[in-house]
Symmetry: C2
Subunit: 344 residues, 2 copies
């Protein structure tokens, strides 16, 4: 392959957004592609994972990961194909996942490849898009957040917000497999119907339809043992009023708050933690990297035997990245949001 | 003793307060005293424990304990002397602690005595006032909250708010004994000086002096491993920004919020739980009743060998109950607030 003939189209963070990101927060650049250095590898991006967490990475704030720098290529996980390699770990033609960035080609030195978490994937375990969903970061987040932090027991009532999203679909289906009663919270009738009808949740509350508290009372008569929170805001406060004694709340994210131009809305009902002797605990998926293979093996088994389904919402074209990302914050994605950059 | 000659002065909840309790929220009644029924016991109140939690019991809200009913004698823990008994467990002259209520004499049937947690106390282990402080509910709250929920390890940095209060003094001294670095938060120089000079905390932050966040940075250079929270509000939010990875926050109370006429101020920095992989957990002391004797024995040992000190702020006279309770919410008490009803 004549690499020098290739142009690498990239999306960079031009400035830090104030509230919801706008077009002017991004810049589009084109760079030449070069042969990898010794130990390096060149990856052609196939699909990118679009995640709520990306919004946090755009802020200049101390967090679990440094922010994306101004004029840096936007950070993104993805799946790509190795098209040139001077590293014995990666052969041309291998499919790999890792932090590729929002660009058509990702070049890594030896140390960079490790830092990007570049690992080979096996499409016998799942499709490329499933490797960004159930078998990827969202799936790992759901798996370890639910099992390690949430610690559900058979018979527990598990509630998950963002139920039709990438993390939510894994959490709910996994909780069902582990013998729990599962109630989702999602926006709109179509998502709720899918969550119950296709994924097999026991119930799903449409928060856009209104009274979440009353619906929780109806669907969680014994209270909520595990709440896996992807959204924060009012819904977190509503669930706090319906906890079972000794409940565990997994703080995975707070998508309702990510584009605030004012302070985050803290859970005003947090003293329910005392009333119900409950706990609220944060988690970050990167802490579990060593155990990803075990989780992938288990989840791939469920995909294979049909006990777990996955749904991806695929948008085409790297130039559509800025608008596509916003679908997450408007609740417009239905399933795991994927940006397909190339077919092959 | 001629019981019928005695008059029982009582303080009752006349109506539910709106914000800070006022005189009109209370009524004063006088009832005759009667011989105990079979299995019953009559207790003369000596000292009552005045606690922030009392404010919560006055609200008509679902909580860990039913609210005090309108026109009921206000609930209060205390120490008293048995002056008549038809129950073989209690002899005349015994000192007992339990839920005596804000009244001069407490009459219990057999089942009521059990429900009130009426147990004999031994003044060789501590004074009557210490039985309301380190050896009483505040001490038990500090002991189990710190050790069971906070799970401090030697070398950990433990921060406790309300450091000069009843629970705070036990928590801080116990954390020192367990090998932790201990930083208190209290209101005013005098309290802070006492907490460091007398109780041996490593540092104490005067929140009335201003910048709590900067002071936490100075005194907790490695971050906060355990935060024992008695106050909520801004201070909780400040501590959330200074957590160490894997921190444990014990939610014991939120005195800053108890007299709100608007909603509780939720911790707007709660997403720090995610950043620091930390947890926030509520506790209620009544869950640990079975283990009180073990904790009392340990704490009495520390009092005896001088490793632990206790300070009580004693106010005289049952008629002063309404005003005295307010000292808690104004931060005017210095040490455990006790209302002495009778000398003997």
């Amino acid at each position: 392959m004549n690499l020098t003939a290739l142009a690498n189209h990239q999306v960079r963070l031009a400035r830090r957004p104030n509230g919801m990101p706008v077009r002017e927060d991004w810049s589009f650049t084109t760079e030449p592609v070069a042969e990898p250095t010794d130990g390096g590898v060149l990856v052609k991006t196939l699909s990118l994972s679009l995640d709520p967490a990306m919004r946090g990475w755009m802020n200049d704030a101390k967090s679990y990961i440094p922010p994306v720098g101004i004029n840096e290529v936007m950070r993104a996980g993805g799946v790509g194909k190795v098209i040139a390699s001077k590293n014995p770990k990666y052969a041309v033609g291998d499919l790999v996942s890792g932090a590729l960035g929002v660009q058509e080609y990702a070049a890594f030195g030896e140390a960079e490849a490790k830092k990007a978490g570049l690992v080979k994937i096996d499409t016998r375990a799942g499709t490329i898009n499933q490797w960004l969903n159930v078998l990827g970061m969202p799936g790992m987040t759901g798996y370890f957040g639910l099992l390690d932090v949430g610690q559900p027991k058979p018979g527990d009532t598990v509630v998950v917000s963002g139920a039709a999203g990438a993390v939510g679909q894994t959490v709910g289906q996994l909780a069902k497999i582990k013998g729990c009663r599962v109630v989702g919270i999602a926006g709109g009738r179509a998502k709720c119907d899918w969550v119950v009808g296709e994924l097999g949740f026991d119930a799903c509350i449409d928060y856009k339809a209104g009274n979440v508290k009353a619906a929780l009372k109806e669907h969680c008569p014994k209270g909520v043992d595990v709440y896996f929170d992807n959204v924060g805001g009012e819904i977190l406060d509503d669930v706090l009023t319906r906890l079972a004694r000794g409940a565990r709340i997994v703080i995975c994210g707070a998508i309702s708050q990510y584009n605030n131009t004012t302070a985050v809305q803290g859970p005003k009902n947090y003293l329910s933690l005392l009333v119900f002797r409950a706990r609220m605990e944060g988690m970050v998926v990167f802490d579990y990297v060593e155990r990803f293979p075990q989780a992938v093996a288990e989840l791939a088994g469920y995909l294979r035997d049909g006990r777990m389904k996955s749904k991806e919402d695929v948008v085409q074209g790297i130039e559509n990245f800025p608008d596509t990302l916003l679908k997450l914050f408007k609740g417009e994605n239905f399933g795991k949001l994927v940006l397909q950059v190339a077919q092959d």
